[in-house]
């Protein structure tokens, strides 16, 4: 039998409505926002509501009443009688078991709901293609505490009904990467079998340290309390997930000569050798003849109002061009650019001024000094072109591309190139050379603000790629899982096209932005206090925003 916790309040000033109701409870009862309560309604039906806010009031008419009650300001006075006080909670109607959405009646009984009722009230009982996205906990800290797995309809996160995930939250406290990895782990588990119609592959960008450079190794929980491992494993099992880390993982790091002092990765030489030995790691290179088209990616952050950079790039890409058409290495290319940038150069007949060439040279020269811009790929060694590898991605495979140690412009270059390749792959441009790409490819990138913030120049080729992915990827099968600190800084067309939003802990400056205006104030304030591992999740199939929790990562963690 459900526990009776209070009664409905309906007054002239605060009536119950189709949307919401208030009820009183004992002041000591532990309830929290997002808890579901059950209210008796007409025809034997029950109306369910989600708590939005809880207020405590007393019969004191003003602050002055309380002040006077302490002998006019004596802080040591204790009262022999406690002032009459009560809690009342405001709840939003989420569901009625008899489809009767008339307002609930005054003094109607309010109960805690059972696990089945909560599932029904949130609309979680009839989810097709279920994909676990965390667990929700109700009535925390009471004997009635309920923990339930929460499932999404995978067609609403991986397409075709709805796609893309946006995770926001401040660094460190929100665990954005961990949540994205948890979801991807759930997807990989789910699509491991052949029973699903779709096949999924993952392309993950490692942007920080070597965080994601050992996702196929189990977490040793060495920095956690004893017993944490068992607890975490139990949570994974309760959610219906395996306790294995990621499977079929391949790592790609920017090429550097093994003997160079400077390496473009945070992995140690031993770790690199180890992974190469296991046939898991390759170093990627960019070769002039194949990758010159991506030079524009280096200009993602450069303002180009007169579009001179763009004209230079199109001249370079042009196979028929007299100056650049026949070049085959980056060195030759740089020589040519240097020539163009010289005063009174012969090729300076066209509309591109020497000054523009100099600007172009300045930007490109520094970038091309990196060892990953090479003359050719050596087939004998663990080397590759990233685009060639991406074209070969197979079902259930996870590609981790390490760009953590690259400077920002080169990170953009690698990311832009990869997104473009994946998009073109799914568009069918490589149908002739590739065999059967998976039906869904998930791209995960942290720090989306670098590529798709509101301040990025409109001409940015990477922004264009991202917009293409978010706007058309749903049907093509390219799914973007992106994370950023401040959601409000992201281009509206990017966030607008995401079907699923996960809000982690953030600050109050962020929640006062317009993006959050649809959230009730209590939820906004809650966002500033969320624990690590807690998220508010919004998805079209949920009746309301949900507060969920996910377990600790199951793959190897590197101490900071």
């Amino acid at each position: 039998m459900s526990k009776l916790i209070g009664r409905i309040l309906a007054t002239e000033k605060s009536p119950t409505t189709i949307d919401e109701f208030n009820f009183w409870t004992n002041s000591d009862l532990k309830l929290s926002a997002f808890d579901i309560v059950k209210v008796e309604h007409i025809d034997g039906s029950y109306t369910f509501g989600m708590i939005e806010n809880i207020s405590h009031i007393t019969d004191a008419q003003s602050f002055l009443t309380n002040f006077i009650s302490s002998d006019f300001g004596d802080v040591n006075v204790d009262e022999p009688t406690l002032r009459v006080g009560m809690n009342y909670a405001k709840a939003k109607v989420s569901f009625n078991s008899g489809n009767l959405y008339t307002p609930v009646h005054n003094n109607a009984k309010v109960y805690l709901a059972s696990a089945e009722e909560i599932t029904m009230a949130l609309g979680l009982d009839r989810i097709q293609n279920p994909l676990v996205c965390g667990s929700l906990r109700m009535y925390e800290g009471t004997p009635e505490e309920v923990t339930l797995p929460v499932h999404l309809n995978s067609k609403f996160i991986l397409g075709p009904e709805g796609a893309h995930l946006n995770i926001s939250g401040i660094s460190g406290l929100a665990a954005k990467t961990s949540y994205a990895m948890f979801l991807m782990k759930a997807v990989q588990d789910r699509y491991q079998g052949d029973d699903m119609g779709d096949s999924v592959a993952f392309v993950i960008f490692n942007v920080k340290g070597k965080d994601l450079m050992a996702i196929d190794r189990p977490n040793d929980f060495s920095s956690d309390n004893p017993g944490e491992k068992e607890r975490t494993y139990a949570e994974y099992k309760a959610l219906g997930l395996s306790t294995d880390p990621f499977k079929n993982v391949k790592y790609y790091i920017p090429y550097t000569n093994p003997n160079s002092a400077k390496q473009s990765t945070y992995l140690t030489k031993a770790e690199i050798q180890d992974k190469i030995g296991a046939d898991q790691l390759k170093k990627f290179k960019y070769v002039y003849s194949d990758d010159k088209e991506n030079i524009e990616m280096m200009f993602a952050d450069i303002d180009d109002p007169t579009q001179t950079m763009e004209s230079i790039i199109s001249k370079i890409i042009d196979k028929e061009d007299n100056d650049f058409g026949g070049l085959s290495t980056w060195e030759q290319f740089m020589d040519k650019v240097t020539e163009k940038a010289q005063r009174g150069s012969a090729g300076d007949k066209g509309d591109i001024s020497v000054l523009s060439w100099r600007k172009f040279k300045r930007i490109v020269r520094k970038a091309l000094q990196d060892e990953m811009f090479a003359n050719r790929v050596n087939d004998k060694g663990p080397e590759c072109r990233l685009a060639d590898e991406l074209k070969q991605i197979r079902k259930n495979e996870v590609y981790v591309v390490d760009i953590a140690k690259l400077p920002e412009d080169k990170q953009a270059f690698v990311f832009g190139d990869a997104v473009r390749t994946i998009y073109n792959l799914k568009l069918g441009e490589y149908d002739a050379e590739s065999i059967d790409p998976p039906s869904r490819i998930i791209i995960f990138i942290d720090e989306l603000n670098k590529y798709a913030s509101k301040d990025v120049p409109k001409t940015s080729p990477i922004l264009r790629e991202i917009l293409d992915v978010t706007e058309r990827g749903r049907s093509l099968g390219v799914v973007l899982f992106a994370a950023e600190q401040f959601r409000s800084a992201i281009h509206a067309r990017v966030t607008g096209n995401c079907a699923t939003h996960a809000y982690g802990r953030t600050n109050s400056i962020e929640t006062s932005a317009k993006d959050y205006s649809s959230l009730p104030n209590t939820y906004k304030n809650m966002l500033t206090r969320l624990e690590q591992g807690d998220y508010l999740v919004q998805n079209p199939i949920f009746r309301s925003i949900l507060k969920i929790n996910f377990p600790k990562p199951i793959y190897k963690q590197f101490k900071q």
Binding site: A60, Q61, S62, N66, S69, D71, P80, T81, L82
Partner: protein, 395 residues
């Protein structure tokens, strides 16, 4: 099928009363007779005679209790556990004409009231309801009973309660109280009716106190604080049986009365002169010496009475705000002879002074004289009334 709204006129209470008593109902304007509750000094005549000091220590002037208050506040015990308050809401509901000698019709008001008596118990600093009684009463002129036979009023009430409308609403009138219409009292009829209902309420309060005593709930660790004066008149039945009379007095051994309003003129100083200034000048957290008084109207019951100041004069509007009049019945023979133990008076006073917080400032104009558990009890009783609209609609 929708129920027919409205009812046949014959069903209205006033029509039934007019028929039974042979009067004519005028369907006059219905309105409330209660005064709003505001702080007031209760002047006017009072036959109470102050006699001698009524405590064991012959104090001559104010007694400082502030240290004792602090000590008691620091302890975690409490002896003031029960709080009782009665309240009534009175309405003039009609005018009724009765033919008198010479065939002339005289108009008398018909008054109806709701009486509520409630008792709350404080456990662990929280006030919970312990007892509640509510009743609906009517007051009519005594001449309405044409025959003057006993049994007329109970029969009328019975008939009234059989009416379909009251049955449907689940409401019953408990009694009809006749008020005297004799000319040798210059009080207005409305006031006489009000007084009869007030008496009824006091009767109910007495019953409730007796009930608490019989239930063994009151003792030296569980005192009852009653709102208002203890000036209860023992009824004839009370007095007729000696044992019963002693029981009546014993009932009050663990009861103290705390009045917000009092007549300062009645207080005499040590020289036997009325001296309101003596009370007005009472310092904060002090009490006056205990005086004893008896009243012919109240029979041979002797009362001990003293005053305590809860709030600083600087912070109240008049010097009488913030003063509580405390009464206790002298029960034992020893008490009657030598007065109450001064130690007990000090302790009770200190506990009462500690009740000064919290206050009901903002909700009640009499906040300076109110003690919070009594205020809560009063609020509890009032919250159980039938709303004015619903009540007046019965008539």
């Amino acid at each position: 099928m929708i129920e027919t709204i409205g009812k046949s006129e014959d069903n209205k209470i006033m029509n039934i009363l007019a028929e039974v008593t042979g009067g004519k109902s005028y369907k006059a304007h219905k309105y409330a007779l209660d005064r709003s509750e505001r702080p007031s000094v209760d002047y006017g005549p009072n036959e109470i005679v102050w006699k001698r000091r009524a405590e064991t220590t012959p104090h001559k002037t104010y007694i400082d209790l502030s240290e004792r208050c602090k000590t008691l506040a620091g302890q975690d015990d409490q002896i003031l556990c029960y709080f009782l308050d009665g309240s009534r809401r009175i309405f003039k509901v009609d005018d009724m004409a009765y033919t008198q000698s010479g065939g002339r019709g005289v108009i008398y008001p018909v008054v109806a009231g709701q009486i509520g008596v409630g008792c709350c118990r404080r456990i662990d600093k929280r006030v919970n309801s312990a007892r509640f009684k509510r009743e609906f009463v009517l007051s009519m002129p005594d001449v309405a009973d044409a025959d003057g036979k006993s049994g007329f009023w109970p029969a009328t009430v019975k008939k009234l309660n059989e009416c379909a409308e009251l049955k449907r609403l689940g409401i019953e009138f408990s009694t009809i109280l006749p008020y005297k219409t004799s000319k040798n009292d210059d009080k207005k009829y409305e006031d006489r009716a009000t007084a009869s209902i007030q008496d009824r309420m006091i009767e109910r309060e007495k019953e409730l106190v007796a009930e608490l005593v019989r239930g063994g709930m009151l003792n030296q660790d569980n005192y009852l604080v009653k709102d208002g004066s203890l000036e209860y008149r023992p009824t004839k039945e009370d007095k007729s049986d000696k044992r019963k009379y002693q029981t009546f007095k014993n009932n009050y051994n663990w009861v103290i009365g705390a009045s917000k309003n009092f007549n300062p003129e009645v207080c005499m100083d040590v020289y036997g002169k009325p001296n309101p200034k003596f009370i007005a000048d009472l310092p904060l957290y002090h009490r006056t010496p205990v005086a004893e008084y008896e009243n012919d109207m109240l029979g041979d019951i002797k009362f001990a009475v003293w005053y305590i100041r809860l709030r600083d004069k600087k912070q109240t509007r008049t010097p009488f705000d913030g003063i509580l009049k405390v009464e206790k019945i002298l029960v034992t023979e020893e008490e009657n002879e030598h007065g109450i133990e001064s130690e007990l008076v000090d302790t009770l006073s200190a506990y009462l002074i500690n009740e000064r917080n919290p206050v009901c400032y903002g909700s009640d104009l009499r906040w300076a004289n109110h003690i919070y558990p009594i205020y809560l009890t009063e609020s509890f009783v009032k919250s159980r009334y039938l709303s004015t609209e619903s009540f007046l609609h019965l008539f």
